[in-house]
Symmetry: C2
Subunit: 213 residues, 2 copies
Amino acid sequence: MVTTKSKEEVVQEYRIQSIQEATMRVIARKGMAAATMQEIAEEAGVAKGTIYLYFRDRDELVEKTFESAMCQLREQIDEVLDREAPFDEKIRAVMAAQLAFFANNREFFRLYLSLRMPDGTAVRQRRQKRTCHPQYRDRVQKFANVLQRAMERGEIREVDPYRMALFIIEGSTAIIIERLTEDASPSPDGEVEFITGLILDGVRKRSAIETSK
Amino acid sequence: MVTTKSKEEVVQEYRIQSIQEATMRVIARKGMAAATMQEIAEEAGVAKGTIYLYFRDRDELVEKTFESAMCQLREQIDEVLDREAPFDEKIRAVMAAQLAFFANNREFFRLYLSLRMPDGTAVRQRRQKRTCHPQYRDRVQKFANVLQRAMERGEIREVDPYRMALFIIEGSTAIIIERLTEDASPSPDGEVEFITGLILDGVRKRSAIETSK
DNA sequence: TGGTTCACTGACCAGCCGTTCAGCGTGCTG
DNA sequence: CAGCACGCTGAACGGCTGGTCAGTGAACCA
């Protein structure tokens, strides 16, 4: 039996998705704290009450919105991470995926900045996240595992992989988000090459002979 | 005339400082959005009204608190940055200064995370910072200038210094803040060495011969 | 000692915003 | 076509919190 979606399910999914997209847009515009249910509803073209038919409360709305975007990001990066490839190729591919994702989801970045960390701002006042958001932590951890394997293969230096992952992810994300506020940025390829170079070889000038590949 | 502080001025400064410290503690505990004037007042051991004798409103309180902490951080880093030294020494010293600052001001980090960026959360709803906090941007810019000079001297590769600065600052800060939530961390010296290595030489394994110094 | 000043207090106010729910209209059914 | 079901609406509610200000008492002065 091909469980084809009933008409109601389709409508429901459409509603949920458009409310979530509106949520991201409003948060991108006003910031997490100033994004009101009223404005989200207007942005989505529904009444305030309608949102509560699909989400328990504001917390759940924001949380679910964050999670579904993070899932997409994660899928696109994991797809690259799980492929068999030399380490530098992987880094290049991950950075390209990240760059493309944030370019295609420009409204997501504020939500991302607000929720990834120890609680830039609590979602309203409940849910006292002491640590980072689990989805963020998972992402760092997964990346750390890849680094770990690269260390075992002797492709990179042997040091704390979790810290290394944090450094790379935060450093690269900062540049990628900076791009979003610029009028004119370098080409995506150039940017990826720049970031990859920074990660692999650092800032120091190599005297002539590069360890190319 | 040595303008020695009058008794009133001393008391006033003391009040201001203790209210600001209370502000940082409460924000560290509850997060920016959930930190109420009531709780800040209790933490400082004064009545709510008293805070308004020294700060116009909540925005000004938070802003001034952020700024005075950022000034300290900035002073400590600038002192290092302005010293004449080879580039790798400078990086080591800056990282050590940053590490020490956040270790000595553990309550500051949430305020820092909330205000540095495009507006993790607007300070309440006014002041619609489109870009990062000016103090943060200044810091990145100053660091970029140092990188620029190092490029001219041929100490590091020639690429966009502002992006390089962003990458280094965000990457290293992520590790330093991670330390604050750990039970047991490596020694500060080890950590500084680790971060410095990452910045200068990247993650790639060097085959034997290090360009030491 | 009586009077005056003024930093400080905290009960109170006003407005904002998340949440609710009685009612409406649309479309389906018999 | 009458009656029903139900998704949607938005006015109204209530709680919370930033900000106010009349009152208090300690310190100082004459």
